[in-house]
Symmetry: C2
DNA sequence: GTCCTAAGTTATACTTAGTACATATTAATA
DNA sequence: TATTAATATGTACTAAGTATAACTTAGGAC
């Protein structure tokens, strides 16, 4: 928490914009809310909105940097006895166990997912974030093993892992949407991560990543 | 080839726009060419451009539907003795053997890749196409085995396969950019497809997809 | 060949995201 | 209190994409 007034005010402004925007997006759909409306709802000038959020999508995906930070941290500070691939497998279980918002299945998350699904712009940003994560996982894994950041094995492993998690999340949300059963959704998520991880191991066995 | 004049004229107009656009995009970068300039270069009205290409990106990615068609065909008309995963592995070798434009490594392809890499909009469209392909592969594979199109195993397999091909293409283009050696790039592409396919097999062994 | 209609082209007018730049406001500090 | 640097905001702009209507012309009916 920053101590000086200026930073606190700036953060409050940012949060106000983010809250107003998220509320409007969830209520009416991303593409049917204009930046002018958001500015009015947050009681700030239009330029202030773009000052805090370069693109409209950034107001919706406000947690993505924290997610990347978490991944970097987990991979960098991992137990050296546990391989990168195994570290990420365990992370999946840990996130489920601690009810992390990244793998939560609830009415709220359902709303977020539906809002994304209804907007090409939001889907595009989600895909971009996915690619950025794949890139960062590849580089972090390569660093783990002391290989160059463009090591093909690292990129293959990261690509397969991110694909696995993506499919697992999508399928788990589908399960929740069908059944409303959060436990079943979590089980589906973990089962697919396990299954995909088996594939990753087979693909890059003997490279130090597994 | 359509026989009637109207269709031929329409196709010619479309091709003229596509050609003018592609030339301009490659020369100056996607984001530094306006639709007005394209219309002027193709000697048509601005609205005609949007009539043929709903979005600006569609002028650049003019072959994507043909690529999806190829995939659908290959999976639907496959030898029943050969599994879907194996069919796609063989397709990779076949595309390389017949010098398909989808896996060509040359100065031209280098220009295309560089133009995409320089534009967020083009990268976003490339990612969207990738997702559409993953979806279609999943559905085609499920159909091959007589399972519902939302079968989780099919989606996992398709996700892993598309991730594999993506990494393989990116790495192969990187090899070509470094060395200018098209043969080396093709070898890297095929090696990574093989390696990824090993992973896919391990992930969905015993499901009928492998 | 003439007329009709439907496809295709194009102009006008509009909405909205995003950028450039200038100005105003206000917290921190000398 | 005066200065300055960060933050907020107004004005003016660019460019993609949409809606709508009008215009042009190929193809078919007679």
């Amino acid at each position: 928490m920053p101590t000086d007034l200026r930073s606190r005010k700036r953060l409050a402004t940012r949060q106000g914009i983010s809250n107003a925007a998220t509320r409007l997006f969830l209520a009416r759909g991303f593409d049917h809310v204009t930046v002018d409306e958001i500015a009015a709802a947050a009681d700030v000038g239009r330029m202030t909105v773009f000052n805090h959020f370069p693109r409209k999508e950034d107001m919706f995906f406000d947690r993505d940097e924290a997610g990347r930070e978490l991944l970097r941290e987990v991979l960098q500070q991992r137990d050296p006895a546990i391989s990168p691939v195994e570290t990420l497998r365990l992370l999946a279980h840990q996130l489920i166990a601690e009810q992390s918002p990244y793998v939560r299945f609830s009415a709220d998350s359902q709303g977020f997912i539906a809002t994304i699904a209804a907007s090409e712009t939001l889907k595009a940003r989600a895909r971009a974030i996915r690619d950025e994560i794949a890139q960062l996982v590849a580089e972090a894994m390569a660093e783990c093993v002391g290989k160059p950041t463009d090591d093909p094995d690292a990129h293959l492993a990261a690509g397969l892992l991110v694909a696995t998690w993506t499919v697992a999340l999508v399928q788990a949300h589908a399960v929740f949407k069908e059944s409303g059963d959060a436990k079943a959704a979590e089980a589906r998520f973990l089962a697919l991560v396990e299954q995909g991880t088996v594939g990753v191991r087979a693909a890059v066995v003997g490279t130090g990543y597994v």
